[in-house]
Symmetry: C2
Subunit: 175 residues, 2 copies
């Protein structure tokens, strides 16, 4: 692949669940939030909110609710991405928009040297309900995902994910 | 913002709907597809397929179905992102995973000098049904979004999308 089409900043991003004991700067958190807010959204509605968490007691409560988030204990920060039904383009759109914003956050975090992991909340209604209560979200605001953040204490090789068999030409083709 | 935390490749991406009359190379299409396939997905299921379209007669049929896709007439290519219920982690997950993949495509396209636009299909069931028929998708495969691609014939300034009022600290706060 030629240098001018190098997309390593996408290919080398991995879910990072081990973090150094070092606090992320406010400027870095703002960069990650800014990346999120520049995601595309349906009719540019930007139907999102972000709760920046650095209170360890909230991490503890979250870990009790979410079975796959124990690595939050070592995170510097986490950001809860929420969708707002009063802002979105229509039913179901906030989910798509929040997913694009979350991916922007992960890519920006990786690019500036942070480790991040997407902790899924939507589409599990049981998790959404408990997390809505934990953060006292209004009725029209829904928890979408949590992103944990910290300086990475681990590295990974480039995985192989390119699957030519998933590519079709002009119409569906059986492979 | 310091140079080492420059994320212009995220901030300067815009929806591009005007294209030069020039065909995109196969290598560039592969770069965009590769970016998509390196998106995170729930439990790394990668529940996606991609239909690469360069047949103008298919663009014409798509434009008849989708009211906001007339700029496809000038596109070099388009890629239909599809979610596969036989591959996903559970109900509703393919939507989240395909959104992350779509955002990766848009960012990679921008980074390598292409113009791209996210043409929404999901969550509109009427569009999904007609597009499923057009591409002869199997029952378990669902159209998620189309991304149009071409060399940009227009540029945009950086918009202002950073909204401090959407940022909360440790819990929901009325603004």
């Amino acid at each position: 692949m030629a240098d001018n089409i190098n997309i390593d900043w996408i290919l080398k991003r991995r879910s990072i669940r081990k973090y150094k004991n070092k606090r992320i700067s406010d400027e870095e958190i703002e960069t990650v939030l800014k990346a999120a807010m520049y995601a595309p959204s349906a009719v540019n509605r930007q139907p999102w909110h972000y709760i920046v968490i650095d209170d360890k007691s909230i991490f503890n409560k979250f870990m009790e609710i979410h079975p796959h988030s124990t690595f939050l204990k070592d995170a510097s920060h986490a950001i809860l991405i929420c969708g707002d039904e009063k802002l979105h383009h229509g039913d179901g759109y906030w989910i798509v928009d929040c997913a694009a914003a979350t991916e922007n956050m992960l890519l920006a975090a990786h690019h500036i040297g942070l480790g991040a992991c997407w902790i899924g909340i939507h589409p599990r209604e049981d998790r959404k309900k408990l997390i809505k209560e934990l953060f006292q979200l209004p009725a029209h605001v829904h928890a979408f995902a949590m992103v944990s953040l910290g300086y990475p204490a681990t590295t990974y090789d480039l995985p192989e994910r390119f699957k030519p068999e998933r590519i079709h030409k002009n119409t569906w083709s059986k492979k």
